[in-house]
Amino acid sequence: MNWHTWIPLFVVVSSLLPGLIIFGLPEERVGLRTILNLTGAVIKLLLVSWMIWGVYQGDHFETRVALLPDLDLVLRAGPLALFFVALSTILWLVTTIYAIGYLEGSPNRSRFFGFFSLCVTATVGVALAGNLITFLLFYELLTLATYPLIVHRGTDTARRAGQTYLRYTIFGGALILLGTVWLYQLTGTLEFTPRGFLTHIDPQHYPALKIIFVLLIAGLGVKAALFPLHGWLPQAMVAPAPVSALLHAVAVVKAGAFGIVRVVYDVFGVEFSADLGVTTPLAWIAAFTIIYGSLRALFQDDLKRRLAFSTVSQVSYIALGVAIAGPIATIGGVVHLVHQGLMKITLFFCAGNLAETLGIHKVSEMNGVGRRMPWTMAAFTVGALGMIGAPPVAGFISKWYLGVGALEAGQDWVLLVLMGSSLLNCAYFLPILYSAWFKPTPKSWPEEHHFGRQETAWALLLPPLITALMALAAGLMTGLPFSPLEWAKIIAEREFYQP
């Protein structure tokens, strides 16, 4: 036994333990709760950094615990897992800081932060899962941990949104369970393996495999908000801004998209999936979702709803990159997992700032807000331009690789989808920027709070600035050794080129 055996488990526990303690803390223990939250996040960050360095050097990190006869609970840190873990860990730290500022003085904070930590624990578990059963366990835990966060405000709308969310995700989970059991019955294994573990299966099982693929992708598509399974996401916007950020950038939606990547690459294998003929329909659905989400975003006056539909559209880039089934498109799809996270969390933080500081919830209320909250809107501008795909923000790099990858794979039509999506993104983001920066400031705001000389509280302002800078750096510094792009290249290399 060595440290490498336990580190993946420690990473999971580093957020689970503080979460469990926080549940028991009285409301007034603000200081202790903050220390627990931040300590957990920092420890997780250090452990993940250690694992990243180790994996880069060729080390192997794996925790294996017996769960059922012939089925282990496996946590393994491969390049793809670490890619998602790193994103979740970094953004968890930032979101925790934001949530501390956002929820200052509001009730039920212990409950909130408890589930918040649990949610991240589940996400990290999903990322590190070494087989489909471990993945499923954490995936379901994520569903249960997120529900209380969505209904946190306790209003009727929040409860309804929570119910919708549960209906969708439990149903999705059931489909995954069905697919997993069937797959286990066919193959006798569920271990994630680079290039999949189904290549040697008897061709007579191919029809069954196709159905299993549909079951798994449909189950995962619920959380990834693939059309027509995206209905829960815009409704979940009633949740507080940190939860929205968590849903869209760190945990839930990303867990779905990550699951699709896992199923295509490490269960079926990308080449085998393409041979089965299941990737093309996935690409069509992803492409349709991209355009549909953008079209729906165009007509939303509620800022968070507009951002939610934008997520529906943007997350499908990941599925599209995977479904194109080529090495370059893989880089584009996988790297968008991180890029979209950075950009979207920035936008949600900014939306939260506008709501908390000025009471702005609608796009039509944003006239001249850039003069009142220049830093927040500067961060928002970076995020929005990134979503459009304007260089040098991160989204540009994702779209570049997706486009070139699609052409390389002979799927030229994807270029039209990317073009249409960029135009639609311009159409629903640029008017916001125009209103915010160039329209006259109104005499009063819907519900203004003052924070001294600052435009808003530091805890609310710093996180979007940090994530905006990260989104900018991820686009501009793509050639650095540990940049998301370089890491995505390692993943693609493993999937396509290594023996």
Binding site: V278, L295, F299, V363, P391, F438, T478
Partner: protein
Amino acid sequence: MIDAPFLLSIIIIMPLLLAVGVVVSVTQRVAIKIAPWAALPALLAGLLLDDGKLQLPGMLINSYLLFDHTGRLFLLMSAILWLATGLLHQAHSGALYAQQKIVFKLLAMTGCFFMSLAGDVLMFMTATTLTGYSLYGLLAQEKNTTTREAVNVMLVVLVVSDIVLFELLQLLGMHAVSVDFIAMRQAFVITEQMNVQFGLLLFGLGAKIGLLGLHFWLIPVFITSHLALRPALISFVFSAGFIGWLRLFPLGEVHYPAIGELLQWGAWLMLGYALLLGVRQIHRRGVLAVLLMIVTALWLSIVAAILIQPELWLSLNRNLVSAVTQMGLVLSALMIGQGLHKHKPAWKHRYALTLWLAIFLLTVAPISLVSHFVSVNSLTVASLWIGAGLMMFILWRTHFMLLAAAEASSKSGGHKMRHTDSSVTHYLFSGLVLVGLMTAVPNLKMLSMFTVFSLFLLLGSMLVLAWLTRFYKPTEPSQLMSGFIMQQFKQGRSMIMEMTQYLDIYSNRLQKSIKKRFSPIFVLSHFSRYERSLNRWSVALIIMVLIGLLVSVQGLLNQ
């Protein structure tokens, strides 16, 4: 010359640091004072540095800065024009100089320098986008509706053209081994879809230089933009448009007579259209936008000639870059100068001399290239002469008309500049013309005796023609355009204006449309209902079953 390529980074870093300095309250005052001079390192680098390359480790996809003859000339042009912008802005805005404007100005300047120095397409795209959006931010600071509408049209054009250009780069990227310009040009050569890619290039870059059909944004933006921003605007147009062509398109490496001939006729059509537009144009800033269209037409004609006879490129290359930058500098000078004097007495002053020199320099630029085409392509020679003649004619005519209308305007009084502002503008106007003259020297040496003689003949005839047109009295001096063709133009422009207003108020309109059940958007309103129905998971299940069937069918088809 200094062999220190790392100094190139200072050109980029300085404006960016100043932009940060302007935002941070502690350094704000100092940064605002230095900001007008932020282009100075670029000017010095352009004059002193050796040709070279600066690798930018980790930046984009192995990006680098390239400093060669083309980059040097465009960098010098941009630096001079941005210095002019900075000084004019300082002179005209004084204490009211807004922080936001300076930040946008510094960002746009950085982008322009990046465009001159970019060694690969991703860096170039980054630079184009940075400049385009920042320049939009700068121009949109003007609070009047006309300016806002005009720059909104510009933004729409820029966004669409950038997206088109991005798609082109992706198409090329598939065949290229890397993203640097050399690899991209090679990809252009080996591509099998030359027509498509050339079309995308024409659209993507043509929109920025006022290609016929995509020119509608030029005139309103030139007319409504602030005097201080006009050199910056020219710098952007020339850098984004012409550098793109020079760097990305394999001029001299592809023989494509079919496209060449088509382009040649396109250039002629554009010259004809510019003549009509120029003659009808009363606003002098609008006239300068028309001149830019003529420059674009001449550019197309030259590209066409090179596509027909690629060997021309070797001898033409350097002279062409000089001629283009010369035209950029002189056009900027004219843009600044036209705001100086609106009255008859001004014609007696040194302004008149500088103005004539500027007109001469602008028209001599294309003529100086004639010698390259004399023996090989008469159609290009003719277009260069005619283009030069048109520019001269339109400019002189405008000034003769000004002379004719001077009495009326002197009676009506109007805006008068402060003495100091006027002096700065005067010096900058003269300075830019002088720099234009210096740029013209290498090309002027190439003029043959016959060309010089023809040039004088052209000068004389255009002067007479222009003088004759002073008897034409415009009926509505304040109107920008009139006549049937202009009506068509207006319709096109108003359509675009409508589109941009759409950006502004679309949500309200669309809601109304949905209520009235009158618009195609009505269909989209149904999506909400469908979406609500999806909340019933039985519906979702049915859809998933259908998707499953689709997958099965697809699988069967594959087998």
